[in-house]
Symmetry: C2
Subunit: 336 residues, 2 copies
């Protein structure tokens, strides 16, 4: 598949971040990035990453035109090489990322970045792949990227195949079929000290509660699918809070503990409970960082944002509606 | 054993609170108050309850002379009746409690109260019992009361006997053999909404992490015994923090969640980590409430207290050295 005249060509794709409602935590295979559990997420419009693929071997991972430093660079380059190798291409791919939200701060930036990169890379290589196949490829870069292929509510299957061919995401409900959204309370703009990748490994190896986490996941997935199917928002919200608390419980029981919460995290959780006490349906969830994301219906986003802005420790608040799946902006879409 | 001229007689005992380093959470038999796990605690001088036993059937549980309201009253009366029945006495016992610290606020008041009450009651009934037997009797009133029978570092055995005869406490190390103490940061003087008794039951029934909690306890007990034996304070501290985080992890994974932490709890935990970063050995632990207790060596109590007082959300700070076991102040001690 050696190609000529590729040096000037670029392809471009745009993907949204997503936040898991039934959380992903732990890997059954770190090499192939296979999850220990399935998960269900909401794709978020407005937290977007745009990936531009080109051939520029000298500077292979840039963000807003600047070289990305450290380990993130190595991981991306290794992903790009894996994609090229998988499709028998000798083209050394390079990617530039533009994002409109903070990266590496527990806002699922890697989901948007790797989903957009995988899509643009397949487009560049002129590979034909279904969205499911694309999802499994994006997963290699970052597990949660598998979910950003689709919009709205999405399930990423754990799968059982050792090679990971059955560990891809499927859409559960498109964004336009249920007017959901998230209001994100940013509490700390700093990058986290430990990557989710390392933290997952440490927790799986040392938390005595990890097996309980694994055992409980299938029930939550099953209940969440039913609640989504029935458009039962209070149940979706309840499971969302339970799943996030269980995930954080497992991490804080690791040795040494991994504790993502800050005092402000508890302030915001309390504010969400106060909102509910007034009859407004809103539910918190947190990922591998202190920020609190609040799931609500789109009609309530303004009221939720106003409440979160009133919490003193909140730096700023983002509002995001349920968004659509990955789009190819330049080049041919890989899916059939 | 019907006695005459008892109406004017009183017996009196004084017991200290204790705080578990390897936590107690969950019951294997709620009726006999048998624990699902063993635990190890530090008895604290200065957090004391004095119990005066008399015969005054009309007003059987008073605190500082006033009738104790609600369920606490019923529990105490049922305990007093159980003790009397067990020793074939028809005497309807009454108790008055004086404490020098806040009750029902997660400060182990029930441990001190029930240990003092059990001791004074046996003295009143002129029963002869070993400290181990006394410990098993106090346990009927409140599990952690079994530990306050002894001073210093104490282990309460889970036991396997269905009747509970082997579920009593034993001393591990007397207070005078290791100059340990605790500095307590009071964050909320209010009484908790849910009793530990009810919370334990709810968590055992609904937390998917509960079996992991049970499975990990023996290792912690074993490691803690060794660390105490070796006077290895950093290891004692590390296990203390791990045990408390695991206990709180299990409760917050219940459905619905039981979350004892307040934002200030995390502030104090952070202050303790800051102290350690300066080379001072201090370790946090929390029970079924927001207050943070900080384990340290007696020589460091002043410095720890000063640090905790500097945390804005801390209402006040108590300092408590390792204390001694229960004492009989009026009447004959029951132990042989």
């Amino acid at each position: 598949m050696q190609r000529v005249d590729n040096t000037e060509r670029v392809t471009k794709a745009c993907a949204c971040a997503n936040v898991a409602l039934v959380k992903y935590w732990g890997k059954r295979d770190p090499e192939a990035n296979l999850p220990a559990v399935g998960s269900i997420s909401l794709t978020l419009e407005g937290l977007e990453a745009e990936a531009t693929i080109s051939m520029r071997p000298a500077d292979r991972f840039t963000s807003r035109g600047k070289t990305v430093p450290g380990r993130a660079y190595d991981q991306m380059v290794s992903f790009l090489d894996w994609v090229a190798r998988t499709y028998d291409s000798e083209t050394p791919l390079a990617v530039n990322i533009e994002t409109n939200f903070p990266v590496a701060a527990g806002l699922a930036s890697s989901a948007a970045i790797y989903c957009a990169t995988a899509t643009a890379a397949l487009s560049f290589l002129e590979v034909s792949a279904s969205r499911r196949e694309l999802s499994a490829i994006a997963r290699r870069g970052s597990g949660s990227a598998s979910r950003s292929v689709f919009g709205g509510l999405v399930e990423w299957h754990r799968g059982t195949d050792p090679g990971g061919d059955d560990s891809f995401a499927d859409p559960l409900l498109p964004a336009e079929d249920w007017a959901l959204g998230m209001v994100v309370a940013i509490l700390d703009e700093g990058q986290k000290k430990t990557s989710s990748r390392d933290a997952m490994q440490h927790v799986a190896e040392t938390s005595p509660l990890y097996s309980g986490w694994l055992a409980a996941q299938e029930d939550d997935l099953e209940s969440m699918r039913h609640a989504i199917h029935a458009r039962d928002f209070p149940t979706v919200g309840r499971i969302t809070e339970e799943s996030t608390l269980r995930m954080h419980a497992v991490t804080m029981a690791a040795r040494p503990a991994v504790l993502y919460w800050q005092p402000a995290t508890l302030h915001v959780m309390e504010a969400v409970r106060e909102l509910r006490a007034t009859g407004l349906d809103a539910y918190f969830t947190m990922d591998a960082g202190p920020q609190v994301k609040v799931l609500c219906q789109q009609q309530d986003m303004g009221a939720v944002a106003a409440k979160l802005e009133s919490v003193p420790a909140v730096l700023r608040v983002l509002q995001a509606r349920a968004g659509s799946g990955v789009r190819v902006l330049e080049g041919k879409a890989p899916w059939k």
